[in-house]
Symmetry: C2
Subunit: 112 residues, 2 copies
DNA sequence: TATATTATTCTAAAATCATGGAACTATCGA
DNA sequence: TCGATAGTTCCATGATTTTAGAATAATATA
């Protein structure tokens, strides 16, 4: 993988709001305050969490959790997709997001 | 560690030029083209590589390798320091840069 | 000590980014 | 079918970032 791909991935994670969104998908939950994050992700509001595999009505939930407009959330999702970190597909009103685990792992390898 | 710290670290690595500088220190070498990077970092110009522990006349070398002004290189170094990724100290004309391995590892833990 | 070299800081300009509103498309459900 | 809901795209704007030149400070060496 080219160096520019790595910087693109880091850029996708460099914005705090976007990182929060990424974690919602990665850890399958979200925290309104985006407080302390570890392998055990502490929830503030379980209602905006989804089950493994997809975020149902993702945007509305995320808009509720974070103070961002739909349009902004959409931009952030696109950025994460462009970096290859996630893959999204819409199935009616269900928005399925998946982590591209290989990409996450390539970052870890890169830093090893 | 706070979420904002992680995004700060990712931001430091999000710029391709800065990532290249980081790798010069991390892998203790540099590549003018910043080509393919892996655990085995291939050199284009060994002359601008340093020995383990410090980069002697770092800026001049890096300016030669990359097409950036001194002032820009300086800014990038500062950014990497601010993110906590590296520690630099000047010792006369020798500029010692060290990686903060714990910080690099905290990123890997974060992504685990 | 004077001069050359090295790195930092100030300032400014161009480029990129984050964000939201409005208009738009797609889908659900009454 | 019609209204409500979900997400996207276009467009504009304020904020941040990247970059370099000039001035400055620190250091080495002749």
């Amino acid at each position: 993988m080219e160096l520019s791909n790595y910087s693109k991935i880091f850029k996708a994670l460099s914005n705090e709001q976007r990182l929060k969104i990424f974690l919602m998908i990665y850890k399958n939950c979200c925290s309104p305050e985006g407080a302390v994050v570890g392998s055990e992700f502490k929830l503030k509001d379980e209602s905006c969490c989804s089950v493994k595999g997809g975020l149902e009505k993702a945007f509305t939930r995320i808009c509720d959790c974070m103070n961002l407009s739909r349009s902004t959330i959409s931009h952030h999702f696109k950025e994460l997709q462009n970096a290859g970190l996630i893959t999204c597909e819409r199935e009616g009103q269900t928005y399925r997001c998946k982590i591209n685990q290989e990409v996450v792992e390539s970052i870890m390898d890169f830093l090893k």
